[in-house]
């Protein structure tokens, strides 16, 4: 019987580049759930989220040979594909924007297993760092990242100059960075 084996993300990507479907399955098992949660949060509906995650993992399957470790870890690379595709779809739906985070949070998260509970625990640290920000900074980050608003749109809907948008983003993310470094730390790659 073969021993359990849980390779680092970089080895999974190397296997992916060698066209190994088991590597794709392993990548999905690690990041499929959070990718789906992210896409769902941005789009606000399950079918679109499923399509985004499907397309993102296929994009990773095809683009694995081009992955470069010096430009970020595998988790960040994969979730940035999910984010980019979800926001792209959102921006095409000009009449619809998702609810702010408070409304999304009111919808209960799915019941889960012990492993998912661990992710919720990690997520709690990020949510805590986000909610600890002044409202204006938090909303700027949420509307940009989860709402897909561009800097000009942010300035318009928040009724502030562009420079203020940039400043709120910068200070808000700096505060989050310090909070995460002082607490659990930002998520890294896989095992």
């Amino acid at each position: 019987m073969s021993e359990p084996f849980d390779p680092p993300d970089e080895q999974v990507i190397a296997a992916l580049a060698a066209r190994d479907l088991n590597a794709l399955a392993a990548l999905y098992d690690r990041y499929g759930r959070i990718g789906y949660a992210l896409a769902y949060r941005i789009l606000g509906e399950p079918e679109g989220a499923e399509d985004v995650v499907h397309d993102a993992f296929l994009s990773a399957w095809r683009g694995a040979p081009g992955y470069r470790r010096d430009r970020g870890n595998v988790r960040g690379w994969l979730l940035s594909i999910v984010h980019h595709r979800a926001v792209d779809i959102l921006r095409r739906k000009t009449a619809f924007r998702p609810a702010p985070l408070e409304a999304a949070a009111e919808r209960p998260a799915d019941a889960d297993t012990a492993g998912d509970a661990m992710r919720n625990l990690e997520g709690a640290g990020v949510r805590e760092a986000l909610t600890a920000l002044p409202v204006a900074q938090r909303k700027t980050i949420e509307l940009a990242y989860f709402g897909g608003y561009t800097q000009v749109e942010l300035a318009e809907i928040m009724g502030v100059p562009l420079g203020t948008v940039k400043g709120r983003m910068r200070i808000g993310l700096q505060k989050m960075r310090r909070a995460l470094e002082a607490g659990m730390g930002a998520p890294g790659g896989g095992p």
């Binding site: 190397a14 066209r19 759930r33 789906y36 949660a37 683009g63 940035s80 999910v82 949070a105 993310l173």
Partner: protein
């Protein structure tokens, strides 16, 4: 050099308009200082998905992804094995061997051309990552196992196909890439090339892909206005929004 520090946060969350995003991307390529700063910002942005409420994806999604990958690369299923630590080592070597094979690294004297090909490969990967739309064409019949992905950049409309595992063809023959209108009446030869025997081969497209609804690759021995040879692969290419 003027830094772009006050734009990096918005760049990291993809909130810059395309023209500013491209400008910042260009600056980052030459500025290690701003790249380091972006890395620090990206670590925080990478954590933001954790703030999304947890959601369970539908169970079918895993198999749907694997099935799509299997369809796009039938040879992959045969290559896949149960993982063991040794297997991973072999896979790593296989990946390196594939890259070396793709680079045709046969002698130290080819170092210069290898460097050029590495640069071209890297450029292709950058172009792939920046492409906004793509469609995969799987090989059919005698050409099963080969395939190509048509990539289109959103801002410029520049397109190229990244082929893999192209089958050898007669020396007198060429692969022709065709773009076809919705009614099937108009066929435009967008590229014509011979396979170079490498694992991957990039072919640039000399046409505005968005004006067409189908793409096909045929094997031709003449330069006729319409294809007469067998279809090696094809795909619908939907309009924006699909």
């Amino acid at each position: 050099m003027s830094h772009v520090l006050d734009e990096l946060e918005l760049y990291a969350v993809d909130a810059l308009p395309a023209i500013d995003r491209d400008r910042v991307t260009g600056h980052l390529a030459d500025c290690p200082f701003c790249r380091d700063e972006l890395s620090a910002i990206a670590r925080v942005v990478d954590a933001l998905p954790e703030a999304a409420p947890d959601r369970t994806p539908p169970p079918r999604l895993r198999e749907r992804i694997l099935q799509s990958a299997r369809t796009s690369d039938p040879a992959a299923a045969a290559r896949s094995r149960v993982w063991t630590p040794r297997r991973i080592g072999v896979v790593g070597l296989a990946a390196a061997a594939a890259v070396l094979a793709a680079l045709d690294l046969t002698a130290a004297s080819q170092l210069r051309s290898t460097t050029n090909e590495l640069g071209a490969l890297e450029q292709t990967m950058v172009d792939v990552s920046h492409a906004e739309r793509s469609w995969y064409m799987g090989g059919t019949g005698d050409y099963a196992g080969s395939g190509g992905t048509l990539y289109v950049a959103g801002r410029t409309g520049h397109a190229f196909v990244l082929f893999h595992d192209l089958k050898p063809i007669a020396a007198s023959a060429r692969y022709d890439v065709w773009l076809i209108t919705t009614d099937g009446q108009r066929w435009i030869r967008a590229a014509s090339f011979a396979p170079d025997g490498q694992l991957f081969q990039r072919v640039d497209i000399d046409a505005q892909v968005v004006a067409y609804r189908r793409c096909a690759v045929t094997v031709e021995t003449t330069a006729a206005e319409r294809p007469v040879g067998p279809v090696a692969m094809e795909s619908n290419i939907g309009p924006p929004g699909q």
